[in-house]
């Protein structure tokens, strides 16, 4: 059972890291603000989500697990808000092609 | 660890801090009232501290919270502390009396910016200096340095003009660089010895790489804050651009705080590390400062920049005391002469410089300008003020019976006793140059040619008397010859 859970952790965290790397590459390579934002939000949402899911079985107690989930929720909320704001600002400055 | 009378140290620490908090809270006309009341109490308290110190003939100490060093912090009050605190109290009181009219809240207003800022920050300078003289822990001294910086910088830009804002920003950046360098030294010393208590460091410190680098960095930081040549460039615009009362505060007292920490560091915390040879470096910079500052002062067209450059020069004298004290220690002589000379120079410059800046402020208030060339005959319009300027000049030059004379005499004797005759040249040469720039102003001001200049605004006699009183004090300090000799060695360096 322990081994299976560890395996899950490895798999999920690695998948999360993949999304982070892909998102970072996207920010560096994509041409304009909106597409970069797209890459960023993917990294935030999927990356953090998968890392949190992967770490859940490793927590000592339910409270720690709850804190992890709360962190995920906060990241989702702030990233959604910030990308909205950046998107609006970008649309005001550089009209979509 | 707490000595008899130690509670007085706590009260001395809390009085200005309580003043800051109350003045901030109540504001308005209360800020000035609270300051004057607190200063009156502070003068009494300083007197009591002096009496206790003489009675016990040993430093007064107080272990805060009952925690002894190295875990806790010790307040410690010795002869050096008394010398700086007494000077500060007298000068602060004179400045407060002088500034009462200038920074009053006008009728009809509840509170004004200049009044609120001036009084709270004057109390802040007092609080900073009190911590400087009481703390015997290098990190607490860092907090004291920051108290002084945060109180001093806004005073520079109190008038809000672009040039004063620029001067204040440059001063702040110098001061911050200085504090950070000081802080690096604290990190290294703690890493090497596990304490920042000055008494414990004195027992443990050795001349190893960490301690030498720490000492160099901390000294450099403190010199930047004290504006020793060549780190002085922030001082003239900052001190010349502030309102006269604030200039007096900055030039007479604030720079003395960081100098005092140099003394604690070199003479008390790390005497095993610094050598008389190393002390030649800051003293040589001091000698350069004396000639450079005086020469530039001589070329100034306006009174306040001239007085500010004079501060650059006069700060140089203070650093000459370092090799003299260390030289005396190395030769097994008493350090009392050099210490007393240095501290008397500090007190003499503080009183004379504050009086001079305030006299310049009154001349500016009266004439609407302070161009030296156009001061012709001002002695007939503002006789008391010009007298005060002249008396302060006498103290700065070092003519008898001024404190400056006795200070230089003591320093010269210490230099000859320790075989460091070259400092005599700097001490004497500086006096001549000072005489030149003071005489230049007085010759114009006392000239009898032409009509006396008309005053643009009346100058209150009471303010002139305050300035004259302070100048008189600086001129007569030399008559109190027994005081510095008796006060300074009390529990000073080596008596831990």
């Amino acid at each position: 059972m322990r081994g299976l859970l560890d395996l899950w952790t490895y798999a999920a965290v690695c998948a999360g890291l993949f999304f982070f790397i892909a998102g970072t590459v996207g920010i560096l390579r994509l041409p304009d603000t909106l597409t970069r934002l797209h890459a960023l939000t993917k990294a935030d949402n999927l990356g953090v989500g998968l890392v949190v899911l992967g770490l859940l079985p490793q927590t000592a107690d339910a409270l720690a697990a709850l804190k992890l989930v709360a962190i995920w929720a906060m990241v989702l909320l702030s990233s959604a808000t910030v990308s909205q704001l950046i998107g609006r600002a970008a649309r005001a400055e550089e009209p979509p092609r | 660890m707490t000595s008899a009378g130690g509670e007085l140290l706590v009260l001395a620490l809390l009085l200005p801090v309580a003043g800051v908090l109350l003045a901030f809270l109540l504001g308005g006309r209360w800020a000035a009232r609270i300051t004057l009341l607190a200063l009156a109490l502070g003068l009494v308290l300083t007197g009591l501290l002096g009496v206790r110190l003489f009675a016990s003939a040993a430093p007064l100490t107080y272990a805060l919270g009952g925690w002894a060093p190295p875990l806790g912090i010790l307040l410690r009050f010795d002869g050096l502390s008394l010398a700086l605190l007494a000077t500060a109290m007298v000068v602060l009181s004179a400045i407060a009396l002088y500034a009462r009219a200038e920074f009053a809240v006008p009728a009809g207003a509840r509170e004004t910016r200049a009044s609120f800022v001036f009084w709270t920050l004057l109390l802040g300078v007092w609080a900073g200096l009190t911590v400087v003289v009481l703390a015997s822990d290098l990190f607490t001294l860092y907090v004291a340095l920051e108290l002084l910086t945060f109180a001093a910088v806004p005073l520079v830009s109190l008038e809000g003009r672009a040039d004063t804002l620029r001067a204040a920003l440059r001063y702040l950046l110098y001061a911050l660089a200085g504090s950070v360098l000081y802080l690096v030294g604290c990190a290294l010393l703690f890493g090497a010895y596990g304490t920042l208590d000055i008494g414990l460091l004195a027992q443990r410190a050795q001349a190893d790489p960490a301690t030498l680098l720490a000492c160099a960095l901390m000294t450099a930081g403190l010199l930047a804050k004290t504006a020793l040549f060549p780190l002085h460039i922030w001082l003239p615009p900052a001190h010349a651009g502030a309102p006269a009362a604030a200039s007096a505060l900055l030039s007479a007292l604030v720079v003395k705080g960081s100098f005092f920490i140099v003394l604690r560091l070199w003479l008390e915390a790390l005497p095993a590390v610094v050598t008389p040879a190393a002390a030649q470096v800051p003293a040589a910079l001091g000698a350069v400062a004396i000639f450079f500052g005086s020469a530039v002062a001589l070329r100034q067209a306006r009174l306040k920049p001239m007085i500010a450059y004079s501060t650059v020069a006069q700060l140089g004298y203070l650093f000459i005391m370092l090799p003299l004290v260390l030289g005396a220690t190395a030769l097994g002589q008493s350090t009392a002469t050099a210490l007393a000379g240095g501290m008397l120079q500090l007190a003499s410059h503080a009183t004379a410089k504050a009086a001079m800046f305030m006299a310049a402020g009154l001349i500016y208030a009266g004439l609407g300008h302070d161009r030296v060339a156009d001061l012709g005959g001002v002695a007939r319009s503002l006789p008391l003020t010009v007298w005060a300027f002249a008396l302060a000049g006498v103290a700065l030059i070092g003519l008898p019976p001024s404190g400056g004379f006795l200070a230089k005499w003591l320093l010269v004797s210490a230099a000859l006793a320790t075989g460091q005759w070259w400092w005599v040249l700097a001490l004497a040469g500086g006096g001549l140059l000072t005489a030149a720039y003071v005489a230049r102003v007085l010759m114009v001001a006392l000239s009898s040619a032409g009509p006396a200049p008309a005053l643009r605004a009346p100058v209150a006699r009471s303010r002139q008397w305050v300035v004259l009183g302070l100048a008189l004090l600086s001129t007569l300090l030399g008559l109190l010859a027994w005081v510095p000799l008796a006060v300074v060695p009390l529990g000073a360096a080596g008596a831990r």
Partner: protein
């Protein structure tokens, strides 16, 4: 090579980098930024000293850690004052560069 050595060397380098920026950079805002980098380097040195002193079941000596917390608050206050001065200068005087001071005789009393 240990963790404390790595961060100690990093702290030393950051002090150097920050000091250079503080002296050389012509823009006041970047001087303020450099001051913060310099400060964080100093704080890391304190952190290394604290970590090396781990004992009595604590991960580090709490005294230098407390120094750092005090220092950080003061550094923030200093940054706030410097920024306020800079913004006021931009508002009143236009130019914000701290060019060499003009000769003192030109300055107001």
């Amino acid at each position: 090579m240990t963790t404390t050595t790595i961060y100690g060397l990093l702290g030393a380098l950051l002090v150097g980098v920050g000091l250079y920026g503080l002296i050389v950079h012509p823009r006041p805002l970047r001087k303020i930024l450099s001051f913060n980098v310099l400060g964080s380097g100093v704080f890391l040195l304190f952190g290394v000293v604290a970590r090396r002193g781990a004992a009595a079941g604590f991960g580090g000596d709490p005294i230098p850690q407390a120094f750092v917390i005090t220092g950080m608050v003061v550094a923030f206050a200093a940054t706030a004052l410097a920024v306020a001065l800079l913004l006021r200068l931009a508002e009143v005087g236009g130019a914000t560069e701290l060019d060499e001071p003009p000769p003192a005789e030109d300055r107001a009393a």
